[in-house]
Amino acid sequence: MTDPNAPPYTLPPIDVVGQRRRPSGLFPAGPGGGGGGNNPGGVNQWELDEEGDPPPPPEGEGSHPCDDPETALDWNADAAAAEAKKEFERLAAARGDTELYSREWHAFIYEDQNGRMYLGPIVAGTINSVTPETAGMTPNNLVGFIHNHPGGGLNPSGDDWIGFDNLYEWVAQWSSGGTARADQLRQYIVARDTSDPNSPMAIRVFNKNSSRSSDAPAPEVNPDGQPCP
């Protein structure tokens, strides 16, 4: 029986890994307050693990994902994906394209020795395909890749997953971190939900644990996300 004198139960902060939200959710706040750019940021949300249990909540002040190198990687990779999308849009506008609907764009996301994320060469393709540029890629700096689907397709295609698996195997084989490093790989898809005419071109993130069925909801990345200070 509930103790009527007990203080009201307060939900612990909820964080999403990285700068992400579930459908209709809010993006987490940035380390300085706000989610970056024009996004005010929402409550922090923890994702449930496979058993349905939330990870331990952060303790005290200063427990932002940027404070931990492991969680900062997700945070900064998401910010790099947001930067890539903005670059895609800028380059598309320079070509006179119809936003990101005219062709596919692709970039790899790398990490330097200090944990700073940066983009590899951005390449433009056709409306159905793009050939990634791997210049500068090593098994130790690869964090992930991002490309858009002009015709829709919120999730990676079957071939996108095969490509992901090949890169995963390559990083697992050749990186100094082995499979632990490969486990950090992620791919971002920029696409619009064609069933919703009001939906924007959104960034969604997938890793080796993501469901590969086409209708599974995937976390959406804050398009205004900023890297850790």
């Binding site: 596919e104 692709h106 393709g125 056709t126 409306i127 159905n128 395909s129 793009v130 050939t131 990634p132 791997t134 890629m137 090593t138 098994p139 690869l142 490309h147 689907h149 397709g153 999730n155 990676p156 295609s157 079957g158 071939d159 996108d160 997953w161 095969i162 490509g163 090949n166 890169l167 195997e169 390559w170 084989q173 050749w174 590969r212 069925s213 086409s214």
Partner: protein
């Protein structure tokens, strides 16, 4: 180069809807491409950009005479399906293309991975996956030295030996094709 080689049954892979087919789907389609009752000796599926091409090669020896090679190409693009035939009695280079399939530089299975035999100081290059949303599948029959029949399926993404073969075959056989219902070159 990214290759997956499967001898016998190809593991079926889950399909997520986008532009291209999966190896599993390709296998089922390729090995049943009969033409005038003939079973294909080899078949290739190319998913390129918005176009899918399925090539099949048949050998016919009517009345025990000289072998006649027939190539059938089915191309679907933008909702349109086109089926064409080429015959080796008109275009002998069809045989060369069939032969080229036998000579493809296909690696053997690498269960241990490419790093297994490399010295520690070796620096690897990134995998060449080729264009996204592009893939190629080859299906063919083979025989072991013990006369055991096997089926070979090779799949790779946008870069690899089947892509190279397809590009060359497209060029070399360009003038050989006729619509399936209209014999003779166009």
């Amino acid at each position: 180069m990214s290759l997956a080689l499967t001898v016998g049954l190809l593991a079926l892979m889950s399909h997520t809807a986008h532009q291209t087919a999966t190896p599993g789907r390709a296998l089922d389609e390729l090995r049943q491409l009969r033409f005038e009752g003939l079973q294909p000796r080899a078949a290739v599926m190319a998913n390129e950009d918005s176009k899918t091409s399925i090539w099949a090669f048949y050998e016919n020896s009517p009345d025990g005479g000289p072998a006649l090679w027939i190539a059938r190409r089915e191309t679907s693009s933008a909702g349109e399906l086109r089926t064409e035939i080429a015959r080796s009695d008109i275009c002998p280079q069809i045989y060369a293309q069939a032969l080229a399939l036998e000579r493809l530089p296909i690696p053997g299975p690498e269960v241990r991975g490419p790093r297994s035999a490399s010295p520690p100081e070796f620096v690897t290059q990134p995998p060449n996956l080729g264009p996204l949303h592009t893939s190629y599948t080859l299906w063919a029959k083979g025989w072991t030295s013990g006369l055991e029949p096997v089926e070979l399926t090779v799949f790779h993404l946008g870069s690899g030996p089947i892509a190279d073969w397809t590009a060359k075959a497209e060029a070399d056989l360009d003038l050989c094709w006729s619509r399936e219902d209209r014999p003779g070159p166009r």
